[in-house]
Amino acid sequence: MALLARNICRVFNQAPLKSSARSIHVGATRFAETDVEPDQKLKCTLIPGDGVGPELVVSVQNVFKAANVPVEFEPYFLSEVNPTLSAPLEQVSNSIARNKVCLKGILATPDHSHTGELQTLNMKLRKELDLYSNVVHVKSLPGIKSRHQNVDCVIIREQTEGEYSALEHESVPGVVECLKIVTAKKSQRIAKFAFDYAVKNGRKKVTCVHKANIMKLGDGLFLRSCSEIAKLYPRIQFETMIVDNCTMQMVSNPHQFDVMVTPNLYGNIVDNLASGLVGGAGVVAGASYSPECVVFEPGARHTYSEAVGKNVANPTAMILCSVKLLNHLNLRRHAEQIRDALNRVLNDGKHLTKDLGGQTSTTEFTHAVINNLR
């Protein structure tokens, strides 16, 4: 009987699959199309985030206005620590799905939950849009003194499963179990993303960061999926490294890394570590990708809430995010213009914010960038 029930269930489950599998590829007729209105101004969702986010966003908007960038922002205030002011998540994710691009500050995440809800707003947003891949390009900027020069590596992190499953329970009082979920499908997907990124950007090596010596099954699956996908890319070197060793190597010799692909939590740690190497949370840009849309956000996730209203935060990361956004939207000329201006300001060294050892305020820094636009 149970068998019968299972079979019936299986048939029902297959029904939608069958209909999708039936869709064969057929092109449309050639002359049937009428004129299509091209979108005039490109729309982009904007989430300022918590902490200094709103200040940084204003700085980006000012730079865009000065550079005459044809991008229109659709701002939504989204916040977990400030739920009364926050726009509903559904509305925000619909907007991102429609515009396909989003510029986002950092959302603060409290370390306790009032409602018993284990998922954070960030996680919900990622899940809603299937933003599975986080890319942080860690690159030394000119004119910034840091521990290492000429660092250039890319950290690609799976951010929808792993330790961030939000599945925790107290089985016996005093014993809490937290589930880490690793699936072959998502591991292969992130591995393929990393290799495709490497191919597209002309990079030579992909390093898989794992801890399969301890978590033999979970991380083992991740590692195996990566090496399976690596076979499809014979011209890119594939390497594996255990996460503890990786952090040490990162600090002592970061130049050996090129593209790194990591599960969720390790990625988060390595992201922050690497950001520290090149000048801190204020200068590293990142992006989260789903198949359909992109969210550009600073690479290291700090809200810097102690500096709210003091006008001292460094807008470099946010401006770099916006440069990436413009590149993504095929506005190469504007992107280059803003990037050049930013590089000039940093090279100059006269206008540096506090975190880089200067005395300039956020607004002055922004003005310096605007003045350097050519």
């Binding site: 069958k18 199309e33 191919v199 597209k200 996908i229």
Partner: protein
């Protein structure tokens, strides 16, 4: 050796329709079962396509002759129109005696899912080095070649007006099975392989296409009066599949008669369903009627991969670098690709620009015009700009 190859093709007794297999592969059957129940269908590990943040990555094989030139035009227009597609360009050395480059190209198509290609040249006469175009199709199991032939009113030297027909050609077996041997000195046998499973999925594609696009008639092109068994099987399979599509009429025609009819009265045809070699002949005849090699684009479909290329498979080595090659075919292929990837507005934008340019008489010498390739491209860019403002 040859016998074994054929055996491998003919073996399956219980043919399961392809569509069934595809859903079975996603749920239910294990990898082992799929392998043993359907040995002729190539097994593919499902890997996600290269589609991130709304941008696609596509393999670009410029090929030989005018290929690189045409690809540079495609890239220029894509950049200008802001198309969210990135190319992974792979060059295949025509003089190489090994298949390394080709293998890499095939791997690249496997992971990107879609490719745009010119014609690849195979200069090596080494028996071990097979024709790279054929190898690509076989390796990726691209069993359908679909060619939509439409007249452009602006092309002055076309022999027939208002043609609108679709050629659907078997792309992997038949005469292109590449099984030839000299059994006795002076006697060479070449095998033509027709399998029911391949014929059936091709016929199904043709009828499905006809249904989607509201076409009324499918014509099977064959030579079953001479090759009673092989072409007979192809014909019989198409008749069997036709029963599932009662609203679409099925007729059949012998290949020699088809060629004559095409030249004298091509308007009687709607969808043409052909085996491999006949398809090659028929599509070249139709392209000749419409204005030559530089106009139409073909699509190669498998269950998992798609390759877009100009319809007639010539390299055009003699006119390479002279700025007279016709870019329209490759651009049409690129537009088909955009449509396949779902970038409908960009496809329409570029398609309209192409149509406007051709119909305004800004065409290259092979179509009876006087413009250079550069002029054609410049005008297309101009049309795109006008449409955008």
């Amino acid at each position: 050796m040859a016998g074994r190859c054929i055996l491998k093709c003919v073996q399956p007794k219980n043919i399961i329709p392809q569509i069934y297999i595809r859903c079975a592969s996603t749920a239910g059957l294990s990898g082992f079962e799929i392998q043993h129940k359907t040995p002729t269908i190539k097994k593919v590990m499902p890997i996600p396509k290269a589609h991130y943040g709304g941008r696609h990555t596509v393999t670009l094989l410029p090929g030989a002759g005018i290929g690189p030139e045409l690809m540079s035009y495609v890239k220029e227009i894509f950049r200008y129109a802001g198309v969210p597609v990135d190319f992974e360009e792979i060059h295949i050395d025509p003089n190489s005696d090994t298949n390394d480059d080709l293998d890499y190209a095939i791997t690249s198509i496997r992971r990107n899912g879609v490719a745009l290609k010119g014609n690849i040249e195979t200069r090596s006469k080494d028996v071990g080095v097979i024709s790279r175009n054929v190898a690509l199709r076989n390796e990726l199991d691209l069993y359908v070649n679909a060619l939509h032939c439409v007249s452009y009113p602006g092309v002055t030297n076309s022999r027939q007006k208002n043609i609108d027909l679709v050629i659907i050609r078997q792309n992997t077996e038949g005469e292109y099975a590449m099984l030839e041997h000299e059994s006795v000195p002076g006697v060479v046998e070449s095998m033509k392989v027709i399998t029911r499973s391949n014929s059936e999925r091709l016929a199904r594609y043709a009828f499905e296409y006809a249904r989607r696009h509201g076409r009324k008639k499918v014509t099977t092109i064959h030579k079953a009066n001479i090759m009673k068994l092989s072409d007979g099987l192809f014909l019989e399979t198409s008749r069997k599949v036709a029963k599932e599509y009662p609203e679409i009429a099925l007729s059949d025609m012998i290949i020699d008669n088809t060629c004559m009819q095409l030249v004298s009265n091509p308007h009687q045809f709607d969808v043409m369903l052909t085996t491999n070699l006949y398809g090659s002949i028929v599509s070249n005849v139709v392209c000749g009627l419409l204005g030559g090699a530089g106009l139409l684009a073909g699509k190669n479909y498998g269950d998992h991969y798609t390759v877009f290329e100009p319809a007639t498979r010539n390299t055009g080595a003699s006119i390479a670098g002279k700025n007279i090659a016709n870019p329209i075919a490759m651009l049409n292929a690129a537009v088909d690709m955009l449509r396949h990837l779902g970038h409908k507005s960009h496809a329409a934008l570029i398609q309209n620009a192409i149509n406007k340019t051709v119909n305004a008489g800004i065409i290259t010498k092979d179509l009876g015009g006087a413009s250079t390739s550069r002029d054609v491209i410049d005008n297309i860019l101009k049309c795109i700009k006008q449409a955008q403002n």
